[in-house]
């Protein structure tokens, strides 16, 4: 499983592990959407601390989840991006759609 899900009442946290590209994004998307549809949370936190590589497919993944959460009246938060991921987030301007937060020090 590339994603582990933790949920509390109104929140789902999806911790993604490994690489995010066009190839892996499909499976990751399915995992997250399954939980979101079942739980219908107010907040979806996507944690990137365990992601070793991400290209613009990761941005597409966040944008897609933003759209899903918008439909059910919820928000998306991007958690713990590594420096490499931060670089690509910056280009995308995704911070206008999803808050970027840090709950831990992420190494490299």
């Amino acid at each position: 499983m590339p994603v582990s899900i933790r949920n509390s009442q109104d929140e789902v946290t999806a911790i993604i592990e490994g690489e995010i590209d066009h190839h892996t994004a499909t499976e990751i998307r399915k995992c997250i959407d399954e939980s979101v549809e079942r739980i219908r949370p107010k907040l979806l936190k996507i944690d990137f601390s365990q992601v070793s590589f991400m290209d613009s497919s990761g941005i597409g993944l966040i944008m897609g989840r933003y759209n899903t959460m918008k439909i059910i009246g919820g928000k998306v938060e991007v958690q713990n991006p590594t420096p490499a991921i931060e670089k690509i987030l910056k280009i995308s301007g995704i911070q206008k759609l999803a808050k970027i937060t840090k709950t831990q020090e992420v190494s490299k």
Binding site: H22, H23, R29, D55, S56, S57, S92
Partner: protein
């Protein structure tokens, strides 16, 4: 472009599993320039974008070959050429625009924008019905200069 020092060529099929293979293979070849972790990550990301474009767009409804040439040049420069014989791009200027996508939904439309910001130079040559060649160039400053 200055003198070519070393070169490798590879051909992969346009299957999405090869996105990971292509970027890792190019990064392994680039390692001889002694790049920083960040430079290596930039190269991997740009290659991933270009190869994904071949799979998602160029060979959308078929499986075709992707030709990757990596050259190392005298002035610590790497040049990666990624070529397909797919559908070609009708409007290259439009394709380069950030957030422009023909796919919507899960595609961000940032492929070329990412390549441009992670590499020094990106050139696109495309002929409709014949294919596209994307050339990515980057000078590697490397660890020695950063230390």
């Amino acid at each position: 472009m200055s003198v070519l020092i070393n070169e490798t060529r590879m051909t992969v099929e346009s299957r999405s599993i090869n996105e990971g293979f292509s970027r890792v293979a190019v990064a392994a070849f680039a390692a001889q320039l002694d790049p920083t972790v960040e430079e290596l990550s930039d190269i991997k990301t740009a290659v991933s974008e270009a190869v994904t474009n071949c799979i998602v767009h160029a060979y959308e409804k078929q499986v075709g070959k992707i030709y990757i040439t990596v050259g190392i040049y005298e002035n610590q420069t790497i040049r990666i050429k990624i070529r397909d014989r797919g559908c070609g791009i009708e409007n290259v200027r439009q394709a380069r625009e950030p957030l422009y996508t023909t796919k919507g939904g899960e595609r961000s439309g940032l492929g070329f924008a990412v390549m441009e910001s992670f590499m020094d130079k990106v050139t696109i040559r495309s002929n409709v019905g014949k294919g596209t060649t994307v050339t990515l160039t980057k000078q590697i400053c490397g660890r020695c200069k950063n230390d």
